[in-house]
Each structure stands twice: as structure tokens, then as C-alpha cells.
Amino acid sequence: MRRLLNVALTGVLLAATACTSNTDDASEPIAVRSTDAACELDSNEAPTGTLVFEVTNGGSAVTEFYLLAADGQRIIGEVEDIGPGLTRKLVVQADPGQYITACKPGMVGDGIRAGFTVTDSG
């Protein structure tokens, strides 16, 4: 039991050091509007560093938002459980390159996808 407790405490401590800053080097948040049939982003490119997506669900089904690698498979970041009317943040670090964004209204299928570029800000 004590060993389990130690594992749990270590986990909490690790978690406490795993925060990223919202402000230091973060660019402006990119607004995403997800509806039952569309996925609209303010911008389809951003400089490197901490990316913040603010995803608003304007539809009637629960939605999810993903940032995927160019292969369309590997998840760079995702935010789930965006209920109708809610706005939730996805905070993620991304290297320069090509990515794919996806909104997944109804939480099924491949989602509504589009290309996204991260440019090298030096």
C-alpha cells in the first residue's frame, strides 16, 4: 500500500512540473468554431512555440478537436468533451512543418479535416 502511495505522490509531483506557460512565448490564441457540419479556424498557420487553440462548439453534438501530424494518424494534441456552447483550450508545442486539424462533431469518424502550417519563427 505504501508503495502505491509513493507512486501516486510521484505522479502528482511530475504533473505539477508539466505545466506549460500560457503567456510567456505563446502566440495569440487561434479561435476554432466547430459546428455539426463545419470546422472554421481563424488562421491556418502559426509561428513555432506554444500554440493555443480556443475551440467553441456552435453545434448540437459534443465535439472534439485534434491537431494531427501530416500523416493524419499521430496525435499532436487533442481536446475532448467540448459540449454544445462550451469553449475549451488546446495548448500544444509544435515544431515547424505541416499538420492537419480536425473537428469531430459527434465524436465519431475521421472528423472535418484541413491543413495547418507551423512556420519557423527563428
Binding site: 500500500m1 502505491l4 502511495l5 507512486v7 501516486a8 505522479g11 511530475l14 504533473a15 508539466a18 505545466c19 506549460t20 506557460s21 500560457n22 503567456t23 493555443v52 448540437s60 453534438a61 459534443v62 494518424q73 499521430r74 496525435i75 499532436i76 494534441g77 487533442e78 481536446v79 468533451d81 467540448i82 459540449g83 454544445p84 456552447g85 462550451l86 469553449t87 475549451r88 483550450k89 488546446l90 495548448v91 500544444v92 508545442q93 459527434g106 465524436m107 465519431v108 469518424g109
Partner: protein, 282 residues
């Protein structure tokens, strides 16, 4: 509102189930005086989750995706350990309760006392941060519409009410059936939590195989439906399950259920009927 209601229900259901069984067990075995420890665990988990969620939502720092998945996945796997311990602790003390000296039960409870608080803490805390982030974003939206917050709160409230019903139902079972039913249920719940944790770690890229799908029934069990919500909320059934999740589920359920059945199988049944020759054999 319905969609947000279902999220709230799903997030709260499993914790309500585990805590409901834990409370029923303590009351049933005449250890109601240990209940404050369970409530302390629940209260601590709720307070930490809400505080951390508020800090991440309104404060200057956000949580990176990798960290969020690692916390969700890591806590889930730790929670499996605690629930498994709870299953066998209950089975062991039940046997002592039925056959042996009361004093030994008291010792077991004294040893397991604060572990009860930890089980309650893990059951609630596992999805606590995710739920808190969801609740705070519903609170943020309350400026323009209160429907999401009302829906989410009603969903969590329903989960708590179902937990109370489970407690009421369980408390009326006789002791042996109580342990068989709740223990068996908890094995399935813990296996679901394990495969949920595996899925989180796969999403974070810590474990491989996110796109190797064992089965996908999301066409007939749409994740947004009420029945998918109940299945997900109680036994963590995922309509789209990866091979690694499915294998982890089986690798947990088969040995643990076998061991559980061996632990709780009535021994008395063998003795009087099958031993015509008396005494010496033991």
C-alpha cells in the same frame, strides 16, 4: 443541454459506483465509523481537482496536451491498483467477518483504514481534473448561456443519485451475495479503467498502436448516445477499441476474476457432503 448532461453523467458515474460500494461495505460490516475517511478522500479529490482546473482555466498557465494525457492515463493505471486492492481486501475481511474472530476484522480495517480514503480519492480524482476543466469551461460559458452548466450539474447530480441507489440496492443483499456481486462488478470496472488509461497513453504517444483497431462499433453505438454514455461511464466501454486496450482488458479480467472466484468460493459446501470418513483428514 442534453449533450452536456450526458458528459456530466459519464464523468461522475464510475466514481459514484465505486464510492457507493465502498460505503455499502463499511455500513454492512458495521464499520460506519470509518465513513469520514472515505468522505475525506472524496472531498480532497474534489477540492484539488476544482482548484487545479480553475488555475488552469483562468490562470496564466495552461496544461500541455501530453501532460494532461499522462496524468489521465497514469492516474487511471494507479486507480486500477487501488480498486484491485479494495476487491481483495473486501473479500478477505468478508471471510473473517463470516467465520473468525471479530478482532481480526478490526485489525484488517485498522490497517486498511487510510487506504480506504486513498481508494475514494483515486476513484474520484482519476477523472477529476478532466471533469473540473469541463465544468469550469461550462462556467465560463455561463456569461452567454447557462444551459451547459445546468446540464453538466444535472448530469453529475444524476451520477451521485445513481451511486446512492447502488448503495441502497447493495445494502439489502445478504453478505455473501453482496461480495460476489460487488466484487465481480468492480473487477469489470477496474479492467475498463485500465484500458481507458492505456488509450490515454496511446493518444499521448507514450504507448504505440493507437490506430490498430480491434473493433469499431461506433456506427451502432454512437458515442453521443445515452446508452454509449452509460456503458462508457460504468465499465468504460469504448465503441472504438484498440488491440492494446482489448488485450490489456483480457489480461486483467481473466487472472483477477479467476483469483477472485477462488477467494470467495464457499468452502463449507465441500466439507459436510463429500467427507463420509471423519476427523483425521482434518
Amino acid at each position: 443541454m442534453l449533450a452536456n448532461y450526458l458528459i456530466g453523467l459519464r464523468e461522475g458515474l464510475e466514481a459514484a459506483l465505486v464510492v457507493g460500494i465502498l460505503v455499502a461495505y463499511l455500513v454492512k460490516s458495521g464499520r460506519a465509523r470509518h465513513l469520514p475517511r472515505v468522505w475525506a478522500g472524496v472531498g480532497f479529490a474534489v477540492a484539488v481537482s476544482l482548484t487545479a482546473g480553475a488555475a488552469l482555466t483562468f490562470g496564466p498557465r495552461g496544461l500541455s496536451f501530453e501532460a494532461q494525457e499522462a496524468i489521465g492515463g497514469g492516474l487511471s493505471i494507479v486507480a486500477v491498483g487501488f480498486v484491485t486492492w479494495m476487491i481483495f481486501w473486501m473479500a478477505r475481511t468478508s471471510r473473517q467477518l463470516q467465520g473468525e474472530l471479530q478482532g481480526r476484522v478490526d485489525t484488517a480495517i485498522a490497517q486498511g483504514g487510510w487506504s480506504l480514503a486513498l481508494v475514494a480519492l483515486m476513484a474520484v480524482g482519476r477523472e477529476g481534473l478532466e471533469t473540473a476543466l469541463f465544468l469550469w469551461s461550462a462556467t465560463e460559458a455561463a456569461g452567454s448561456t447557462t444551459a451547459p452548466l445546468v446540464g453538466a450539474a444535472l448530469g453529475l447530480g444524476t451520477a451521485v443519485a445513481l451511486g446512492v441507489l447502488i448503495y441502497r440496492g447493495a445494502i439489502h443483499l445478504d453478505l455473501r451475495r453482496f461480495f460476489t456481486v460487488t466484487g465481480g462488478l468492480l473487477v469489470i470496472v477496474a479492467a475498463g479503467v485500465l484500458s481507458y488509461g492505456i488509450h490515454d497513453l496511446q493518444e499521448a504517444g507514450i504507448l504505440p498502436g493507437l490506430n490498430s483497431i480491434a473493433f469499431d462499433v461506433s456506427a451502432s453505438v454512437p458515442p453521443g448516445s445515452w446508452y454509449a454514455t452509460l456503458l462508457k461511464g460504468t465499465v468504460n466501454f469504448s465503441p472504438r477499441t484498440t488491440w492494446l486496450e482489448a488485450l490489456a482488458w483480457l489480461a486483467y479480467v481473466i487472472p483477477v476474476l479467476a483469483l477472485f472466484i477462488r477467494t470467495t468460493r464457499p468452502r463449507v459446501r465441500l466439507e459436510p457432503a463429500m467427507k463420509p470418513v471423519p476427523a483425521q483428514t482434518r
